[in-house]
């Protein structure tokens, strides 16, 4: 295993094309070290990026908030900008992993690891976050919902990496919010099912709704078919509709050592139903 520590972004990008074989970016290390221990990274080059300031920090401009890829969960949870504008994100990530992992785990690392169970994706999806991707000569923004292409498959080009996350300051403003992670216990746990939701009610009708789920497909995703079905429905009569048929088309839960597919499906349905039946000013 080779090791590389570039001094800055420019150096990083100029050295990347020269590296042959597999490349692994090392940020907080909380996931990659587990993979190394389990023999999943037998060879290749580890590129340390955790010290690069360009990828760090939480900033805001007029309309948007930027969260650098290397921002740790601890920094995010303590950020006054996030507390002020996106309390929903704080609420959703409060039960992330454990207080010990928040110190080192980075948002970018969590996204790039691409586990279907990752905690950060469902809330980012309903907030309609965008990712800024950078490479040697280019920088581009893509909707977060387009980032995952399959199980651990990403819309990243060769030698491109995540610079950070952009979220509109008012992404959750005026919405009723919902987030629930179901694990085998209350902390130190991997989600069996997670559901994030935003909805807006006008005159008793759903006018806007966004629902995203984790641990139920090869990657976390928005449930667009369900959202389309729900828009325009009266809140009073909402629970009369059977949404399970639509849900069946959009989620494909599996049985494994953490849970069973029938359970995952039913809990997802129950949580969405709960989200729909709640009516409060969020």
């Amino acid at each position: 295993m080779k090791f590389l520590k570039p001094n800055n972004l420019t150096e990083l990008f100029s050295s990347l094309p020269e590296i042959s074989g597999k490349k692994y970016f090392l940020a907080g290390g909380t996931d990659i070290n587990v993979q190394i221990k389990n023999g999943l990274i037998p060879e290749g080059t580890i590129i340390y990026i955790n010290h690069l300031p360009e990828l760090n920090g939480i900033r805001q401009d007029e309309n948007e908030i930027f969260i650098g890829a290397l921002t740790t969960y601890r920094e995010l949870l303590n950020s006054n900008i996030i507390k002020k504008h996106l309390p929903f994100l704080i609420h959703s990530l409060k039960n992330f992993a454990s207080p010990l992992l928040t110190t080192m785990s980075t948002l970018g690392g969590n996204i790039a690891n691409g586990s279907p169970t990752n905690d950060v994706s469902p809330p980012l999806l309903v907030l309609e976050a965008e990712l800024e991707l950078i490479s040697q000569n280019d920088s581009r923004r893509i909707p977060f919902q387009d980032f995952y292409l399959g199980y651990k498959k990403f819309a990243l080009k060769e030698n491109e990496l995540i610079k950070g996350i952009w979220i509109k300051q008012n992404a959750a403003k005026g919405y009723q919010t919902f987030y629930k992670k179901v694990g085998s216990r209350k902390t130190l746990t991997i989600a069996k099912v997670s559901v994030a939701g935003l909805k807006r009610i006008d005159h008793g009708q759903i006018t806007k709704i966004k629902i995203a789920v984790g641990s139920l497909n090869e990657y976390p995703r928005r449930l667009f078919q369900l959202e389309n079905f729900l828009i325009g429905k009266d809140l009073d009569t909402l629970l009369e509709y059977d949404i399970s048929e639509i849900l069946k088309k959009e989620i494909t839960p599996i049985s494994d050592l953490r849970s069973e597919k029938e359970y995952r499906f039913q809990v997802c349905l129950n949580l969405i139903t709960k989200f729909l039946s709640l009516n409060f000013v969020g």
Partner: protein, 155 residues
């Protein structure tokens, strides 16, 4: 690779593989065996140390993560006033059983005492949520930290 860090307030330079686990550096190179390896995957907290004042599981960090940073281990904490108070409170309640997880609990408790310190059971439970103990059922651990918070406030 040469890596500089500060451990328990002393500057240290070590020449190691930058990917060597921080826990192994502490235990093997620096003979600080207070941090223990139990799960090796960041899931139990037995290897907890403070990195720039924040608690981390040193079993899933690498030498490079400690470059130019400050580390406080249980050995360092035990020398501080707050550390001594914690030791006395945990000892007084007979909270310790096998003790393998306790260096980790000491570090998380010290962090809570320093950065919050409110005698509040719910907050204490959350602050210790990354540390697993199999012997005690936790209640005496909560009680000990609660007691330490009360005494620290009164000092």
């Amino acid at each position: 690779m040469k890596i500089n860090m500060k451990i328990n307030n002393k500057p240290v330079t070590i020449d190691v593989d930058p990917m060597k686990r921080l826990l192994d550096i502490l235990r093997e190179d620096l003979h600080l065996t207070g941090a223990k390896e139990s799960c090796g995957e960041g899931e139990c907290g037995s290897c907890t140390i403070l990195l720039d004042g924040n608690p981390v599981t040193s079993c899933i960090l690498n030498a490079i993560h400690a470059e130019n940073r400050e580390i406080l281990t249980v050995e360092g904490i035990a020398q501080t006033k707050a550390g001594k108070l914690l030791i006395d409170c945990f000892d007084e309640t007979n909270a310790v059983q096998c003790g393998f997880c306790f260096p980790g609990f000491m570090v998380s408790s010290y962090h809570y005492l320093m950065y919050d310190g409110e005698p509040n059971l719910d907050k204490i439970k959350h602050a210790l949520a990354g540390n697993i103990c199999r012997c005690t059922g936790y209640q005496k651990i909560f009680r000990s930290l609660y007691l330490a918070c009360e005494r620290w406030q009164k000092r």
